[in-house]
């Protein structure tokens, strides 16, 4: 099937394109870009994208799809549908399923389940068996089976020596190591950011230091071992500074943050709002400012969602017992466009952090509208005003602090491999 997307404004950071162009997609690939009206309209299905932005298919390098093991929260199929609805053509799923994705069989199962899904799914394997932090998983097998990175996300690897060995071993395959930076002896039983608000609410706090000491440790280990390190969900001003300094020294480190960390502060927890409970926790206005600065100056390469679906029963009741995490796939574009609106990022920079940069870090050869590459395209209406209604989510779960928010801009079409 051929698709001609007409009259849209193409933003393709990889090819330095930022102008009105038509795009022809043919046999699942990007065939041609040309001046408006220059491409033949014979045969192909025509999409009029006047007033819309045409960008490379968005990539979310940090999601939890919950399958196998927690299919009541999300499945690969519903997670991929949520991705597509939110404008993401590709997602990377973290290994904290049950069983954990720590061996080839689970990776192959995920890939098989993803075959008919509406978005591309790239598995991330565990660093240690069962993510228990005790012995290395078969990192080479996982890499060969199709894992694009390795991470013990959600179960931070506390054993520094084992992390060092994992980083060294990863060099055989030049595999990316993604670190969930949290010293669990410091975060302990904490449920929110430690500070004035946790003191008022009488909730156990997680200090910024719990994140920063681990960011610092893993940067040092990456420096020691020469491994490619990616810091997941940066939430603190301290970690932004550590990554910035490390990059200056030439350490192979990249970093991501999530829309909630540049949109909300720990004030959102007031009223014991369990929808504002996530790990790392929402921090302060100073941290939000530092994260925006980090996005702007390139310290933070990627915007990912940490899409973490949970059943409603797990997200209600006593705040202490509520599960950590929120869904993010279907609100990420609207929240990121707020940064563009306030001038913190240009459209082009925002799109780069949602497509080209994660692709380059993961080495999956996507994130660009180069003729011959896969026909993964997202069409964004930057002007449309809409209200977040979690009941309409394609995700199985509804755990978002943004329900009822009025946002401007959303993905209106997501084309995956030339399929509408």
């Amino acid at each position: 099937m051929n698709i001609l997307i007409k009259n849209g404004h193409v933003i393709d950071p990889a090819n330095k394109v930022d102008e009105q162009l038509d795009i022809l997609v043919s046999d699942g690939k990007i065939a041609k870009l040309g001046k408006p009206g220059s491409l033949s309209t014979d045969g192909p299905q025509v999409l009029d994208a006047a007033g819309k932005l045409i960008v490379p298919g968005l990539i979310d390098m940090h999601v939890h799809l919950r399958e196998p093991g927690f299919e009541y929260k999300e499945t690969i199929s519903t997670g991929a549908a949520a991705a597509k609805a939110g404008g993401f053509t590709s997602v990377c799923c973290m290994p904290n399923t049950n069983p954990v994705n720590d061996n080839r069989a689970i990776t192959e199962f995920i890939l098989a389940q993803a075959r008919d899904a509406s978005a591309r799914v790239y598995p991330i394997g565990a660093i240690t068996k069962g993510s228990r932090g005790e012995e290395l998983a078969e990192m080479g097998e996982l890499h060969q089976a199709g894992c694009v990175a390795l991470s013990d996300d959600g179960r931070p690897l506390m054993n520094a020596s084992l992390m060092r060995r994992a980083m060294e071993y990863s060099r055989i395959f030049d595999t990316l190591i993604i670190s969930h930076c949290e010293d669990s002896t410091l975060s302990d039983k904490g449920v929110m950011n430690e500070g004035r608000i946790s003191t008022e609410l009488g909730l156990r706090g997680i200090p910024c230091a719990a994140e920063d000491v681990m960011t610092s440790r893993d940067i040092s280990l990456a420096e020691l071992t020469g491994c490619r390190l990616h810091i997941a969900h940066v939430s603190t001003a301290g970690s932004v500074g550590l990554v910035r300094e490390a990059k200056k020294r030439g350490v192979q480190v990249t970093a991501e943050t999530c829309p909630h960390y540049f949109t909300l502060t720990d004030e959102a927890v007031r009223g014991y709002n369990s929808m504002a409970k996530m790990n790392p926790p929402l921090r302060t206005a100073e941290d939000v400012a530092a994260i925006k600065q980090g996005l702007k100056d390139g310290t933070i390469d990627v915007i990912a969602t940490d899409h973490a679906p949970h059943g409603m029963d797990e997200k209600s009741g006593e705040f202490d017992y509520a599960a950590f995490g929120i869904v993010g796939l279907e609100t990420a574009v609207g929240l990121t466009l707020r940064l563009v609106e306030e001038g913190a990022l240009s459209f082009s920079e925002a799109i780069r952090k949602l497509s080209l940069n994660p692709s380059a870090i993961l080495r999956i050869g996507a994130g660009a509208l180069t003729p011959g590459s896969d026909g993964d395209i997202t069409i964004i209406d930057p002007k449309v005003s809409w209200t977040v209604d979690s009941a309409q989510f394609k995700s199985k779960s509804r755990n978002t602090p943004f329900n009822g928010w009025k946002l401007t801009g959303k993905a209106v079409r997501t084309i995956v491999g030339g399929r509408l």
Binding site: R196, S198, T199, E200, G202, L203, S316, G317, D320
Partner: protein, 309 residues
């Protein structure tokens, strides 16, 4: 004057007028407890449930007596939090209780915010009988009542709260209440037990107890939970007693008329010496006043006014 809110969840946000109304009403009810026939018909026909997810003798008994002296039907439900984690949810339990038609639910829970969570979802009035490290409003009210009764006022007094402030709901409620009433609050304890940002609640922070109690009108000791030693919050009971225990020498640094208070239960020889504890009848009067203050809260929340009482 009556209380306009459905629930009593905390002292934070209450006005000085509201606090005064409760304290004035409690004075009337204290008389009831002194009588031979300790009962008034104010809550006759009302049902009050004590829903306690955390062990308590003093507070539960105090609420039960308060309800009974107001002629309410009082039912006690005690359950351990751990069994609840696996079993019925807090909300399901509360909804089942409400389905039996009760008017007031008094909740104690180890999770901060549990009473607020219920209050938003139940028609019954919810009274917080202590939630996590958040608030224990009736304790602060009875403390304020006791201080006002003994020293004649709250405004302008210097009050030192000493101990594990981080894990104390009593400290938080008292900081809110006392500062609202115009007192100057000092908090004192080892920095391991001092929550970040506590000064934004209106208290001055001290880590040297001798300085903290200098010239104060009231010393309020907070119970030390000895098991906190195992997570490194203090090196041991002996050292704690020497730096943060209230002994006679420290009492003498305070004002001559100083009032020594403790919400109980006391660790004698740790945060308070027996000599000081036994020389301070106020600690038991706090308990007596607790019943009166809880009667006042229950009465006002069920629509009573302090002119009728």
């Amino acid at each position: 004057m009556s209380l306009t809110s459905k629930d009593l969840l905390g002292i934070q946000g209450m006005t000085a007028d509201e606090i005064t109304t409760i304290l004035d009403t409690a004075a009337t009810f204290k008389d009831v407890s002194e009588r031979d026939i300790k009962k008034v018909p104010a809550l006759r026909g009302k049902t009050v449930i004590n829903l306690f997810y955390e062990a308590s003798t003093r507070t539960r008994t105090s609420f039960e007596l308060a309800g009974k002296r107001l002629s309410a039907d009082v039912i006690n439900i005690s359950t351990s939090t751990s069994s609840v984690v696996k079993g019925e949810t807090l909300l399901d339990t509360a909804r089942n209780i409400e389905a039996m038609k009760c008017d007031m639910i008094i909740v104690r829970h180890s999770c901060s915010g549990a009473p607020e969570f219920l209050s938003k979802r139940l028609k019954s009035a919810v009274i917080n009988a202590g939630d996590g490290f958040h608030e224990h409003p009736t304790q602060a009210l009875l403390d304020m009542y006791t201080i006002r009764e003994k020293l004649g006022k709250l405004e302008g007094l210097a009050i030192a709260i000493v101990g594990d402030i981080a894990h104390s709901r009593v400290a938080r409620s008292n900081i809110y209440g006392l500062t609202t009433m115009g007192a100057k609050v000092r908090v004192c304890g080892p920095p391991t037990m001092m929550p970040r940002g506590i000064e934004s609640l209106g208290a001055r922070v001290y880590c040297d107890m001798n300085t903290a109690v200098e010239g104060v009108d009231v010393i309020m000791m907070i119970r030390l939970q000895l098991e906190r030693q195992t997570v490194g919050l203090f090196p041991g009971a002996r050292e704690y007693a020497s730096f943060y225990g209230l002994n006679q020498a420290r009492v003498e640094r305070a004002a001559r008329h100083v009032l020594v208070m403790h919400p109980g239960p006391m660790n004698r020889g740790v945060e308070i010496s027996s000599e000081v504890a036994d020389g301070t009848p106020v600690i038991l009067e706090q308990v007596t006043n607790g019943v009166a203050v809880r009667m006042a809260v229950m009465y006002l929340l069920s629509g009573g006014t302090n002119s009728e009482a």
